[in-house]
């Protein structure tokens, strides 16, 4: 059963990766930011999650391209490291394709409000037969909506996402079907000093992230120790200068309702670097 727990954990971090042009978006959730037309974003980051004796880390490289001023798409390739109580494994994880379309934008002096929809698709290239597995073994899709308000001092965002694990029956080659997952996020940002172009700029962020995962099934039978609801409080920061950004944050669990016998999340942490070229 433990290997199934690790299997279910694989891909959790990918929920927070692959956001498309996440520059001035929250650290752990998406915002409506996209990239300027013809722009290229190079994104390098590291994520880490710990729950009991299980740890999962990801190093990721993302490339995003601005198709228009309101539409961006890209690709993310993670290197995954998974460690359980007795086993550990590392290697290339599931490749992700993502796109975001900002369908509404309201601009005024020093302010921008906007809303976007996003789609992430996770491929099956990661090794799902390894122990612990490095990939989910199914093609997963995440669909989301996000709204954001930003001014020269304050930011606020909200988003809702639904992750469907697996096409058709959703079972991987081991007969495991991971439960679908809902995610909801609220975030506030504050810039303590007035921004000046070409000068370093810092914004502090506080997020509230909620997740609800359905139970998994093995060959059609529901697994008792799966499925959960969790809430996290997530302080973070983004620091930018001209076309370079650093984002960092930590997610701390504040409430959880885990089915059966599951390890509670200890923390999730993230560090990202972005360049707009």
């Amino acid at each position: 059963m433990k290997s199934f727990q690790l299997f279910l954990a694989v891909g959790t971090l990918s929920l927070f990766w692959g956001g498309v042009a996440s520059a001035h978006d929250p650290v752990f959730s998406p915002g409506p930011h996209v990239l300027y037309k013809g722009g290229v974003e190079v994104h390098v980051g590291a994520d880490r999650e710990k729950a009991g004796q299980e740890r999962q880390s990801e190093l990721g490289l993302e490339l995003t391209y601005g198709l228009t001023g309101d539409w961006a798409a890209g690709i993310a390739l993670p290197y995954v490291s998974v460690k359980g109580a007795t086993d550990k494994n590392s290697g290339i994880g599931d490749l992700r394709l993502f796109t975001k379309y900002r369908f509404w934008r309201k601009d005024s002096l020093g302010r921008q409000e906007s809303a976007a929809v996003l789609l992430n698709v996770t491929s099956t290239n990661g090794d799902d037969q390894a122990n612990p597995p490095l990939g989910s073994g199914t093609t997963d899709a995440l669909l989301g909506f996000t709204y954001g308000y930003e001014s020269l001092t304050w930011y606020r965002w909200t988003s809702i996402r639904y992750r469907h694990n697996g096409e058709k029956s959703g079972e991987n080659s081991s007969g495991l079907r991971r439960g679908d997952r809902w995610l909801v996020d609220f975030a506030l940002g504050y810039r303590p000093t007035f921004p000046v172009y070409l000068k370093p700029d810092t914004v502090w962020i506080l997020e509230l992230n909620g997740e609800r995962g359905q139970r998994a099934e093995l060959n059609g039978s529901t697994l008792a120790n799966t499925g959960s609801s969790e809430w996290f409080i997530s302080p973070g920061i983004f620091w930018t200068q001209r076309n370079f950004a650093v984002k960092a944050g930590v997610q701390l669990p504040i409430a959880s309702d885990l089915n059966g016998n599951q390890a509670e999340s200890d923390y999730r942490a993230k560090l990202e670097f972005e360049w707009h070229l």
Binding site: A23, H24, H33, V34, L35, Y36, K37, G38, G39, T68, G69, D70, R102, R105, D107, S108, L109, G110, R111, Q112, E150, S151, L152, F194, P195, V196, Y197, L198, K199, D201, V203, T240, Q241, R242, N243, A245, H276
Partner: protein, 97 residues
């Protein structure tokens, strides 16, 4: 002698003014809320032929574009560039340099 010096200074000033090149376009852009996002505008404008420099006053929502002499940037052209960067051109004015 004083008159000659004064005449020389005035002539030099006049000729410097006469041969000063270019135009400055003052763009009022809405939606500019962060310097990192403003880079998209800089990138789009600086790639435009004849544009020498781009600077920002975020508090006033101003993008200041200096163009070489003989180069004309139209409102339609600038509106599209700003829109492609993800912002809205509210108004613009120009002044000779």
């Amino acid at each position: 002698m004083k008159k000659l010096i004064l005449l020389t200074v005035v002539s030099l000033f006049w000729s410097a003014t006469l041969f000063a090149a270019g135009t400055q376009y003052n763009l009022r852009v809405d939606g500019l809320a962060c310097p990192f996002c403003a880079y998209g505008i800089e990138k789009k404008l600086i790639k435009t032929e004849g544009v020498e420099s781009v600077s920002f006053d975020l508090e006033k929502g101003l993008v200041l574009v200096k163009a070489k002499e003989g180069v004309t940037l139209t409102e339609a052209q600038l509106k599209k560039l700003v829109d492609d960067a993800g912002f809205t051109l509210r108004s613009m004015s120009e002044q000779p340099l």
